[in-house]
């Protein structure tokens, strides 16, 4: 975009995707992956899954967010103001998840089956859910960007986060973790279909959010972001995993190479989806009607 086109034409946001903004993208992806993996691992009772999910949130999500801040040492100011915005509430979710998750992991490892383990599993699970969903609320508040300003976004983030959690838990199963791979496959099969439908509805509904919404969707499916959307989100994130999942449903069990391919594609899909949503965050021009 040329400087003289700024807010005269449709103007994409750059702060959360370009230059240091890449850290925000990585933080958002790791929030979905870590939270999803933790929730799925809770369901499948995989200690390794819970631990890796917890680590992803602690090191990657937390680290990327702190590294992105202009004044990282002041991050504590955010925690003290939960009434202000979803970023503040989100950071509280992250901090509480790290705390509750650590206690829960300790109980599960040293004192499994106790009531405290169950209590902290519930608490950490709620916080993990909060970690996945809050980014949706953060973005959904931005009314200048039609693609983000929709209630479908938090739902999409939750479904995709849990789907990616199933993908990662399968990777743990292949690595020797104690996970029922058939259950994980069944879960991911359902969520793949749900996420594919949701993405279609999400984009379709965005086209009804005025000319900027329509332009944004066209940019996603035909513009500069289209290769990432079609190859990353549609092909790798949905089509290939669905084909593998359906074939394994009829064949009984998918082979390891097929599963690895599916997991890699799913990860590419996770990164691509958040990239596309952030990159296609487009504002309406400032000058009324003339630039449309």
């Amino acid at each position: 975009m040329k400087p003289y086109e700024w807010m005269v034409k449709y103007t994409p946001q750059t702060e959360w995707i370009e230059r240091r903004g890449i850290l925000m993208w990585l933080a958002e992806v790791s929030g979905g992956l870590g939270g999803g993996l933790y929730l799925v691992s809770l369901y499948l009772n995989s200690l390794w899954g819970m631990f890796i999910g917890w680590l992803i949130i602690l090191l990657l999500k937390g680290g990327f967010h702190i590294a992105y801040l202009g004044k990282p040492l002041r991050f504590w100011r955010i925690i003290l103001k939960p009434q202000t915005s979803w970023i503040a509430r989100g950071l509280i979710f992250v901090v509480l998840f790290i705390g509750f998750g650590a206690i829960q992991l300790a109980f599960t490892y040293w004192l499994p089956g106790t009531a405290w383990e169950v209590v902290f599993k519930i608490l950490a699970g709620i916080m993990a859910f909060g970690v996945i969903i809050y980014t949706g609320f953060v973005m959904n508040y931005v009314n200048g960007i039609p693609l983000w300003n929709t209630a479908l976004l938090p739902v999409l983030f939750v479904i995709c986060g849990v789907l990616d959690g199933f993908g990662l838990v399968m990777a743990i199963a292949l690595g020797g973790g104690n996970v029922d791979i058939m259950v994980a496959e069944a879960g991911s099969r359902l969520l793949l279909i749900a996420s594919a439908l949701l993405i279609v509805i999400y984009l379709w509904s965005t086209t009804y959010m005025g000319p900027t919404g329509k332009y944004t969707v066209m940019e996603l499916i035909r513009g500069n972001i289209a290769p990432v959307f079609w190859v990353g989100v549609a092909l790798c994130g949905i089509i290939i995993p669905i084909v593998i999942s359906v074939s394994s449903y009829f064949a009984g069990e998918a082979s390891s190479p097929l599963l690895i391919t599916g997991i890699i594609c799913d990860m590419i899909g996770a990164f691509s989806l958040k990239y596309c949503i952030l990159k296609a965050g487009i504002y309406s021009p400032l000058i009324p009607s003339t630039a449309y």
Partner: protein, 217 residues
């Protein structure tokens, strides 16, 4: 309590950028940072082409999206309607920047950037950094020259009427296209202009109720 606001007459604006420069001088803004901008668009096809110039700045919205978005409480709206940033509290998350539908905020990333790269800071830049210590790593935007307004009121002056109490961009405008005053006072010049000339806000559909109005007739 007053609600400070601005009216910009688009018929009078000649696009000379005096407001942009005056703002940069007033606040000693670093390179590449503008609190005042002019957005220029051309519409139509030859020979029926229309050029439109919109001087834009922070709208100091009554329902400011940036205030509600700021997680650290650094951005606040004063009683007189000026939306202000406390640089000591800003964490640099840039959520306010994203949330502003008018895109009137800027992240001050590079504190070492010079106007003449490689030649060191000029005297003016050195003085500016002492007088107006902006903090790298924080977000900044137009503050309606709150220092001028506050000091002017303390001296018994009236913002929008007395030069010393009026924002720099308003007094620098050679075409007198900008007006500053109290939107809550029905007898103020800005209120009268908005009423008589049907002043309009940018994107009222966002529900932010900006304090900057435009008139075209």
């Amino acid at each position: 309590m007053a609600r400070w606001g601005m009216v910009i007459d688009l018929q009078k604006c000649v696009g000379c950028y005096s407001c942009v420069i005056a703002c940069k001088q007033e606040h000693f803004l670093p390179p590449d940072i503008f609190w005042n901008r002019i957005v220029i668009s051309e519409t139509g096809k030859y020979p029926m082409v229309t050029k439109q110039m919109y001087p834009v700045l922070c709208n100091h919205c009554q329902e400011a999206a940036c205030v509600k978005a700021c997680p650290s409480g650094a951005t606040t709206r004063r009683e007189d309607g000026i939306v202000t940033i406390n640089y000591d509290e800003c964490v640099g998350c840039r959520y306010c920047l994203i949330a502003c539908p008018y895109q009137q905020r800027t992240f001050y990333a590079d504190g070492k950037k010079e106007y003449f790269p490689g030649q060191g800071l000029t005297e003016l830049e050195i003085i500016g950094r002492k007088l107006y210590p902006l903090q790298p790593g924080t977000v900044m935007k137009c503050n309606f020259c709150q220092e001028r307004v506050d000091e002017g009121i303390q001296q018994g002056l009236k913002p929008g009427v007395d030069r010393e109490a009026t924002p720099a961009c308003v007094i620098a405008c050679p075409a007198k296209a900008r007006y500053f005053g109290d939107l809550d006072d029905p007898d103020s010049e800005v209120s009268k202009l908005i009423k008589e000339k049907k002043g309009f806000q940018l994107h009222p559909e966002y529900g932010t109720d900006p304090s900057v109005y435009y008139i075209t007739r």
